[in-house]
């Protein structure tokens, strides 16, 4: 309140931001955003080839995003390494940012895992950084909107295009609008997305085009999230074995009391029931591990895929509202990466506790 006008005049960069927003409104008015083709399975960029061990293989656009994230992380690692090569230097720039992230994560691991923090932290931090990079990739302009053009088959919904010159095409709004004015039921058909019901009254859209984006965030692909979940849960088992030896597996296959039962001279009813309950609890633990994998995979996939569809819908329905949802997606991307890493940390920490410690881990099994 004391200096209202001074801060208003300062700051050249904020005027650039305002200009970009105004430009966005104008461009969005001319080239009206359209909703792209929504597909759960990742699109293939190259033809399918037969490889010796892997089998059928095709480069999908979600794999491209993982490669980009890997390259970004490796470059960041090199930058951090160069910044810390000189002893006593204060890191700045990229190294400073990564020092902040790593320090916060390490403090978290230290308070949660205690003496096991050094073993658990690399796995957790790797998962966090990879998922973070992949999640935030959808905020880059051009991701999911630039790609190969392909003609949709008859009976599906496509969009008309116009040429921009050298092998480049852009969505042509003119024909679509004229088609809108001509027929009323076309607008209904547009809202229904890809499911083309009115094939008869849809001659204008018959030979439309769609794009296969070059880059699509890998967290919208079940292969990525499921493999990451399997890696995390396998890491949990490995940490458990390192902490408790092979006795860790008595958590799942608890036949100890069952075998001990037969050595007793007198067997009461209670002595017979309790070992069976132990075996049953072990089976429940085994099922809980599988449920954790599914929970891990579908949480990340659901949030990110729904976020992508939300961005598509908001971008195609309203002109400028998508910017706000981009901020929301930034938030969700960071939160989901944090949750994935945090749950890995917590599960690993629980695996390091000795099995005889009782039932203190039930609170995390409730999902």
């Amino acid at each position: 309140m004391t200096k209202p006008r001074k801060s208003f005049h300062l700051g050249f960069k904020r005027w650039i931001i305002v200009a970009v927003i105004v430009l966005e409104i104008i461009v969005a008015g001319i080239y009206k955003p359209i909703s792209p083709h929504v597909q759960l399975a990742p699109e293939t960029l190259t033809p399918v080839v037969e490889l010796p061990i892997i089998g059928n293989f095709a480069l999908t656009n979600t794999m491209v995003s993982v490669f980009i994230a890997d390259i970004i992380l490796i470059l960041a690692a090199i930058a951090v390494f160069r910044a810390y090569r000189k002893p006593g230097s204060i890191p700045k720039g990229v190294a400073g940012v990564f020092e902040m992230i790593i320090e916060a994560l390490y403090n978290l691991a230290q308070t949660t895992a205690g003496k096991w923090a050094k073993k658990i932290f690399p796995v957790m931090a790797t998962i966090f950084l990879l998922v973070l990079m992949v999640n935030l990739m959808k905020l880059i302009p051009g991701v999911e909107s630039v790609g190969w053009l392909h003609e949709v088959p008859e009976g599906q919904h496509g969009y008309p295009v116009q040429s921009l010159g050298f092998m480049a095409y852009i969505y042509d709004p003119g024909e679509e609008q004229s088609a809108d004015n001509g027929q009323v039921d076309v607008t209904h058909e547009k809202r229904s997305g890809e499911a083309n019901l009115a094939e008869g009254g849809d001659d204008e859209h018959g030979g439309g085009y769609n794009i296969i984006p070059f880059v699509r965030p890998a967290s919208t692909d079940l292969s990525f999230t499921l493999s990451l979940a399997v890696i995390a849960i396998l890491g949990v088992q490995i940490i458990g074995v390192r902490a408790g030896g092979l006795g860790y597996f008595t958590k799942f296959f608890n036949f100890g009391n069952f075998l001990k039962m037969w050595t007793k001279k007198k067997i009461g009813a209670f002595d017979m029931i309790m070992p069976l309950i132990d075996i049953f609890v072990g089976m429940l633990e085994l099922m809980a591990e599988v449920a954790r994998i599914i929970s891990f995979a579908f949480r990340l996939l659901g949030v990110m895929f729904a976020g992508a569809i939300l961005l598509f819908l908001m971008g195609s329905l309203f002109l400028v509202l998508q910017s706000g949802f981009l901020a929301l997606e930034l938030f969700f991307g960071v939160i989901q990466a944090f949750v994935f890493a945090m749950l890995t940390l917590v599960f690993m920490t629980m695996a390091t506790h000795s099995h005889s410690g009782g039932h203190d881990e039930e609170h995390a099994e409730a999902h």
Partner: protein, 80 residues
């Protein structure tokens, strides 16, 4: 039995909508987690950091249920 394809499409959308009813429970759960966290922080502001982390974990568990419902709904619309 043979159904009209419009009927099938409409039923798919209706099923997707019904599947999202499951998010009521997740909303309640996240609300309870937030309520507990805010009350805890109000009583003991020093423990805000630890409470926040646990609250985010609990909210993630509650949210997972909503996301299962969302995945079912998305499959109804886009896959099935």
């Amino acid at each position: 039995m043979e159904f009209n394809e419009f009927f099938v499409e409409g039923m798919k959308l209706l099923a997707a909508g019904i599947a999202m009813i499951g998010t009521i429970g997740a909303g309640l759960g996240i609300g309870l987690a937030g309520m507990g966290a805010v009350q805890g922080i109000a009583r003991n502001p020093d423990a805000a950091g630890a409470i926040q982390i646990n609250m985010i974990l609990a909210a993630a568990f509650a949210e997972a249920v909503a996301i299962y419902a969302l995945v079912v709904a998305l499959m109804m619309v886009f896959v099935a």
